[in-house]
């Protein structure tokens, strides 16, 4: 609220200064700026964790998500893989009595995106290592360089009665 009043005052005091005459001039053509971005810094991925049957139905937390991601990357690329910076933007846990859905939203540098996708989709985790994971896999649900294009999904659910 305080911001509002402050702004109003600024408008009021400024307008008479810049606009001394009350002319109804033809509206100046507002200037418009266009640009096209093709190479934004990030690529965003919406990932789904696929648990293998019989694994512990525990909701995914950020730390284990990061562990699974690192494990996939190091399996595919070794030490270089673990050096790829990953930002976990959100984790969605949807669990009902029958199904469990763990969705992870991440962003990675755009140049690394294709190797991350390869690493994640070829990975089947767990099994031999001691982390309590059991067998899990990643599925890429959405991928894009602009997050706004991904958040609303594809809308295909509308066709299902």
């Amino acid at each position: 609220m305080t911001e509002d009043t402050h702004g109003d005052m600024e408008v009021d005091t400024n307008s008479p200064l810049t606009e001394p005459t009350k002319r109804k001039a033809p509206e100046p053509k507002p200037k418009t700026l266009h640009f096209t971005s093709r190479n934004p810094p990030w690529t965003y991925l919406k990932l789904k964790l696929i648990p293998q049957p019989g694994s512990a139905p525990q909701p995914l937390d950020p730390l284990s998500a990061r562990t699974y991601l690192s494990s996939a990357l190091s399996q595919f690329l070794g030490l270089t893989g673990t050096a790829i910076p990953i930002d976990i933007l959100k984790i969605e846990n949807e669990s009902s009595s029958t199904t469990k859905r763990d969705i992870v939203w991440i962003r990675v540098p755009r140049e690394d995106a294709s190797v991350v996708v390869s690493a994640l989709s070829s990975w089947i985790g767990g099994g031999n290592n001691s982390s309590s994971s059991g067998d899990v896999a990643w599925r890429v649900c959405a991928k894009g360089n602009f997050l706004g294009a991904l958040v609303a999904g594809s809308g295909a659910d509308l066709f299902v009665p």
């Binding site: 408008v11 418009t32 700026l33 933007l89 959100k90 294709s114 894009g144």
Partner: protein, 386 residues
Amino acid sequence: MFEEVDDASRREKCFTTIAQLPAFIDPKQIPSKRSPFSTIQNHAFVHSVEVILPKEVYSKIKPSLETKLEKPRYARVFMAPSALLEHDFFNTYIKSGNILMISEGRSGSDNVFTLQDGILRMELGKEIYERTGLTGKPFRSGGRKHAKERFLVELNLRLPSMLHGKKGFERIVWAFANVLTQSMAWLFHDLESNSGLDEGNKPINKVQPQLITCEPQEIDHEQIMTPPFYENGKVLEEMSEGDLQEHSGSLSEWLAMVQMASPRLSGEDDVDPYLSRYAVPDADESQACDLMSLKWHGLIPSRWIMQLFLNMLQSTKVSNLSWFALAVATLGKEAVEGRDGFTVMVLPSGQSSESSEASQVNGEGTNGPGRVTLCWELMGASVTEP
């Protein structure tokens, strides 16, 4: 680190337009060639619309939004394409009326149908296309290059020659009766009468439609770190092109983060940098603010989105300092360089008062100040699951 950018990634684009709104907008004469109005009109099939705004602003404008905006209504039907050409349906909805229809299916792999302004577009696989005997043109599918695998047939059903009994028309009837016989789910919206779906005698009721009214979903976002738009707007004009691109990119990312309700935006988020290093744009000047999202999900026509946008402009202009954003996602996007949707953000008017000569009367609230809008149009992302 790895310069191995894939083909799909290279095709993704974001068209950004920064424009100033006219001081006064006549709802009967929308400046439809100007951004963002042109963008709103160019997206015919939409599955999600979301409005994001400060919560205190929403509580003020909620009553006027509820009374002035009719809820969008549509129907889900299950029918074969031949039902489009049934006499009643064809004459009522296509020849004299105006409807919007879209079928299920993924562009690039399934047969996909859309109907808009009397023009039926069918995207078909090669084998089916050849069997229909209709004329079309090759269509990019994202598969092998130079191999013509998918075709687009466009039929203007409003042409005078498109009548039962005419030769060209009978070919379509034949194709629908013999080749494209499969029933599929469609979404239907009658542009002539939003509420008229209920009337029992309408032709749509013969195909057992499931009538749906879009109810807005209200989502609270508490204590969201919000960048200082007031300052930003002023700064926009002085920025170099590179800075502007970066700034507008991070702003659109922030809006999308609000849409997905990311905990990274919360003022109380203390995530370890090992897990995320996301930072709100202009983090040091950001303030925690309660925001609100209003979300509609369904087949929503662009005309309704325009009404929503005009309504929002109208009802927020009294409080000069409020901003809002409108995010729209398209339905049935094409496989290659398909449009994903767009986001429009209307900045508070305070910053534009110096540059806008027409805003001298904005203290009265009678004349809309020439607010600055940012519009991001996105294309080419790949979304495989709903």
